[in-house]
Each structure stands twice: as structure tokens, then as C-alpha cells.
Symmetry: C2
Subunit: 242 residues, 2 copies
DNA sequence: TGTTTTTCATTTGTCAGACAATTAAAAGTC
DNA sequence: GACTTTTAATTGTCTGACAAATGAAAAACA
């Protein structure tokens, strides 16, 4: 389980890797202070700049934070849900945008994942999440919403749906899937008619949560997935025609 | 959608953030070469070391790769599934280990997520994945397997199950959930009896795939989740007693 | 002419040393 | 005791230098 990224040739990457292993494997614990840059450069027999580059790598992964001044230094960072969320989203978004993923594959994955929280969501949904979903649904009925705003509202709606399961680990894992779809969805221009259809599905989803109707929720998500793919296919076909 | 991490005070973080935005928003495309460090330091009016620290931050997120020599430089990296996998796993693992997640919550999330690929897995499972699962199942019957080896085999089994859905995006999203459980599971000592019980569930899972029996697969996953939680609860109770 | 070797310019990797900015503890002052 | 000043430690940034790698161009060679 060691040296997760050891094919790197630069010293700074090697040092970062060693320190990272120390953190992941628990030899350095949360909020523990690392040796100062000067001490580290002695320990590893490299210059301070090389140590600094290694530390910046770790900072980029939110593994450490640094503080200036006496009694400052680099500290092992407690990875917050927020940090983990944004890293997950960045990675997922780039993975989808750089690997020309088939949109059907992405949609299939997304709705399969959302389906996974249907039973929990129906059982535990709280008024808090339901009101967010109702608010977003209402926003979506506004005809002067731009495509970008529409998609953002769509994402907020589905994130709230996921949150209904009241399981933060589940929410974390699904955030990437839901958010990363945003750029893909933004490519699709929604006509008034297609918006109305999606809105009716969203309304059904809220109803299914209110009445704790698991089969209805699953069916609705399936229809939503199918309709999303249809829309995407149509947009792609129109584009190819031109 | 700009300046995703703008509360940073250091120049290197600011510069990294700007370049990152350029990549995420598509102004810099895959394999495009960034200006040289010297040029960047002119552009941003900072020293070369500061630019280098910024670039190392991006390299840590696999957003760029660098190459020495004439016509070398920093290039926008195409994020591979492999890179995305390992980043996801690192983040998920740390998130779970640093936030003293309730093991029930983690188990619940994991099996809910796995359940999401049951229909696709039953429909598309190929001989390739089934043989991996049979091999790991056979490994698990060996009594001289250490707890670590047992858990690793367990992870391999479930990863292969996820791969049955033949959807790379789904596999990517679920990798974090399955792999991050490994350290948590490693805390549990498996008696011969509990191993046998898990093995029987695994066998049932293989059968459900072979016969494309969706309800059986879902039921088996549910039982597996419940049993995992029971084991964990027992371990925790025993530890508290001491 | 075609091929191989050498040279060379460019770029990243590493180092050393300096100073600025920040910060909390310690010392001094009233 | 409360407040101010000093001080030492530490990160942030800059400058300049050299090593190492590398592909292109030039030179040498057959």
C-alpha cells in the first residue's frame, strides 16, 4: 500500500508522496504539525524550494494547511466534507469533459446512482429538503430562466433529493455524479415544451417523497433518465445534420 | 463559476486557481502547452519559484504534466480514468478516516450505492467479471488468509461486481465508495464463522448474476449490509467493554 | 544524396542565499 | 495586572545560478 505515485522522477513529487503516505496511513494525525521547511530540507537532504514544491502539492489536495509566523508551519488538515465535495466535483467534471463520454453512459450512471437513495430518501425526507425542492420546482416554472439558470436549478433540485437520504457519505459520493452532469446538460437547449415535461417529472418526484411512494420515485427517475437521453440524442442529431 | 478557491492569500495559490479555471472552463484544451515558466512569471509579474509552486499544485491534481528539455514545458493533461480513480479513492478514504464517520452510515451508503448497479449488472455481466468474482470467492475460502488479504479480496470482489454494469462512469463513482471502506473493514477481525457467512452471500451474489435474478441480488446485498453492520457493532461493543 | 553524429538553444529541476511579512511568545513598561 | 515592545521562528517571495534533459538544427560522414 506504499508509494502510491512512485513513478515520478522529481524529488518534490517523491517527497510529497512520502508525506502523503504518512498521512493516509495515519503516522501523521490530524492537526499535527509537520517539521518546518528548513528541517524537512535537512531530513530529505534537498533544498528548501524542493520541499516547498512538495508541500504545495499536498496543499493542493487539501492534505495540509500552512500558517506563517512563529509556531506556524504546515499542519495535517482535517479533510472537510466541503473540501472533499469540491475535489470530487472538479475531478468528475474534468473526467467527463476530457474523455468524450457518451452522454447515454453518463445519464445511465447518474440516474442509476440517484435511484440508490430512493428507499432512504422516501423513509427519511425532512421538510427542509422538501421545501428546497419545491422552491426549485417553482423557479423552474419561470419562463425567463436562462438555460444556465435552469440547469443550475436542476442540479440544486437533485442534490436536495439526494440529501433526503440523510446520509452524508451517500451525499458526498453522489455529488460528483450530479454536479458533473451540469456542463453536459448545459449543452442541451431546453425548449418550453421539454422544460414542462421535466417539471412534471420533478413534481412527481416530490409527490413520491411526500407520500413515501418508492415505486413511483423509481419509475419517475427512470422516465427522467430516458427523457434526458432522448433530448440529448435529438440535440446531437440536429447538430450533425448541419 | 470563477475563482473556485479565491480565499487563498498566497500568490502561487491564486495563480494556480486562475490556470485551473482556464482548464476547467475550456480556454486551455487537452495537450495544449502552457507558456514556459519564464513567460508565466512575466505574465503574472512574479518570480519563477512562485510560478513553479503554482504549477506543482496543478500537477498534484493531475491537471498538467511537465516535460523537460527544448520544446518541453507544461501541458494540459488528459485526466485518465486511472488518475481519477486514485484521486477519488484518496479523498474518500481520508474523508472517512478523518471525520469519525459512524460505520453504519458508511455501510448504508456503500450498499445503497452498490444496489444502484444491480439491474445493469444482471443484464450485462460478462464472463470476464464473473470469473474474477469466482476466483476471489475461491480465495476467500482459504483459511490461511490474513484479515488484510481477506479484505483486499472482498474489495476486488465488489469492484468486479460493480464493473458488471459495464458503465465506466458508474464504476468510477462507485470505486471511491467501495475502496474507502477497506480501512474501516480492516478494523474488524473476521472469525471463521463470519467469513463463511459472507462467503455464502458472495456465492448468492454470483448466482444472482448468472441467473440474472435482480430481486435475489438486491436481497443479498441488503443482507450483506446488515451483517456487516452487526459485525462492526459487535467489534465496537467488545472494544468498549475492555 | 542519405545517414549518422555533434552541437546547441530551450526548458524544467535543483540549489543557495537573501529579505519581507507574519505571528505568537517573551520581555519590558506603566 | 494590563498594555506595549521586542524578538525569534516560520512561511512567502525574489534573484541568480547551474545541472539535466531533449528535440531541432547543423555538421560530419559515407
Amino acid at each position: 500500500m506504499k508509494n502510491t505515485q512512485n513513478d515520478a522522477t522529481d524529488l518534490s513529487a517523491q517527497i510529497a508522496s512520502k508525506i502523503r503516505d504518512s498521512i493516509v496511513e495515519g503516522r501523521l494525525i490530524v492537526n499535527e504539525r509537520l517539521p518546518s521547511e528548513a528541517e524537512l530540507s535537512e531530513q530529505f537532504s534537498v533544498s528548501r524550494s524542493t520541499v516547498r514544491e512538495a508541500l504545495k502539492r499536498l496543499a493542493a489536495q487539501s492534505l495540509i494547511r500552512t500558517q506563517r509566523g512563529a509556531f506556524g508551519g504546515a499542519f495535517v488538515n482535517k479533510l472537510s466534507y466541503q473540501d472533499a465535495y469540491s475535489q470530487n466535483i472538479t475531478t468528475s467534471t474534468l473526467l467527463l469533459s476530457m474523455n468524450d463520454i457518451n452522454i447515454d453512459v453518463a445519464c445511465e450512471a447518474r440516474f442509476a446512482l440517484e435511484r440508490s437513495c430512493v428507499p432512504l430518501a422516501c423513509a427519511r425526507r425532512s421538510e427542509e429538503q422538501l421545501s428546497v425542492m419545491r422552491r426549485e420546482l417553482h423557479r423552474q416554472t419561470s419562463p425567463d430562466l436562462s438555460d444556465e439558470e435552469w440547469c443550475a436549478s436542476d442540479v440544486a433540485f437533485h442534490r436536495s433529493f439526494v440529501d433526503c437520504a440523510q446520509n452524508p457519505v451517500l451525499s458526498y459520493q453522489l455529488t460528483g455524479a450530479v454536479e458533473a452532469m451540469l456542463p453536459l446538460m448545459n449543452m442541451i437547449t431546453f425548449t418550453a415544451r421539454s422544460r414542462a415535461k421535466i417539471i412534471s417529472h420533478h413534481a412527481a418526484l416530490i409527490t413520491s417523497l411526500e407520500t413515501q411512494d418508492i415505486p413511483l420515485a423509481e419509475r419517475t427517475l427512470g422516465e427522467l433518465a430516458e427523457y434526458s437521453m432522448q433530448l440529448a440524442a435529438k440535440v446531437l442529431a440536429d447538430r450533425d445534420k448541419k
